[in-house]
Amino acid sequence: MTGWPAAGLLVVLAIVFAILAALYAAGSIQFLTTSGAAHAHHYTHAIACAVLAVLSLVAANIARPKAA
C-alpha cells in the first residue's frame, strides 16, 4: 500500500489518533476503558493512541512516493 492516497489516509488516521489521545488525556471520553469512571483521565489509552498516531505518521512517510 503505497502512493499519495495511502499516505493521505495514514495522515488522516494519525490525526484521528492524536485527537483521541487528547480526549482520553483530558478525561472527555471513556470508550473501551476498564473503569469507565466519568471524567477519569485514562492516560494509558491516551499514550496508546499517541503511539498509534506517531506510527501512522511513520507509515505515511514510508508510503509516500519518493523521488528516484
Partner: protein, 283 residues
Amino acid sequence: MNLFQILFLALLQGVTELFPVSSLGHAVIVPALLHWRYNQADPSFVPFLVLLHLGTAAALLILYRRDWALIVRGFVRAAVRGRVERAEERLAMLLVVGTVPAGAVGLVLEKPLKSLFASPRTAAAFLLVNGAILLGAELLRRRSERQHAGREAQEEAFRRVEDLSYPAAVLVGLAQALALLPGISRSGATMAGGLLAGLRHQESARFAFLLATPIIGAAGLLEVQELFARDVPLGAYLLGAAIAGAAAYVSAAFLIRYFRVGRLDPYAAYSAAVGVIALLLLR
C-alpha cells in the same frame, strides 16, 4: 499471599513465561491445585503478574540488548528517511506491525479477559487448546519439510525473521493476541504463527522473544501503576520480579539453543497433559 507464595509464583512465572506452555495459565492453575487461599480475582493479582512479566521483559532486553540497539536505531533511521533499506530497519518495522494487533486487542478486550483470570478451569481448558495449537503448527510444518534430510538441513530451508513479509508479521501478531487468554502461551502462539509463516524454529523463537518485550512493557504500563495505589508487599513483589527475570534469562538462553533443531512437540504434549490433569483435579 505470603512471601513463600510470592517467590514460588515468581519462579514459576519466570521459568514458564518463555517456554511455550503459558506462564499465566500456570500462575492461575497451580495455586488452585495447591489449595492456596488467596483471592485471584483481587485487583492486585493481575498487576502482580504484570510486575513479574516486567522482570521477564528486562531479562529479554538484556539478552537481546545488541539486537534492540540495532532495532531502535533502525526504526528511527527508516522513519526519518521514509524508506526501509537495511535488515535491522526491516526487523524494526516487522516488530511494529506484529505488536499492534495484540496491543489493540488488549486495549479493547481488557475487561472481559481479566474476568477469565479468576477461573482455573478456564485456564486449564485453554492450556489444552494451547497444546492443540502447538501440535497443529508442528504437523503443518512437517508437511512442508524435506523428507530424509537432517534436522539442520531441514531448518535451513526456511526463512530468517528479516525475510518475513509484512502480512505474515501481522499474522504472527494476531497469533500473539491469542495469548491474552490465560492458558494460551504468548511465545507458543507466536512461534506457531512464525512456523506457519515459514520461519525456522530458532528464528520463530527469536521473533517471539523480540515481540514479547514491547507488548509486556505496554501491559506493565497499563497495570503496574495500580500496585502503588494498594496495600501490597511491594518489596517482596520486586524481589519476585528479579527472580522471574533471572529464571527467564536462563530459559531463553536454553530455548534459543534447543530450537536450533528442536520442535514444539514436547511442549504440546506437556500443555495437553497439564490441561487434562488440571481439569480432572479442579472439578
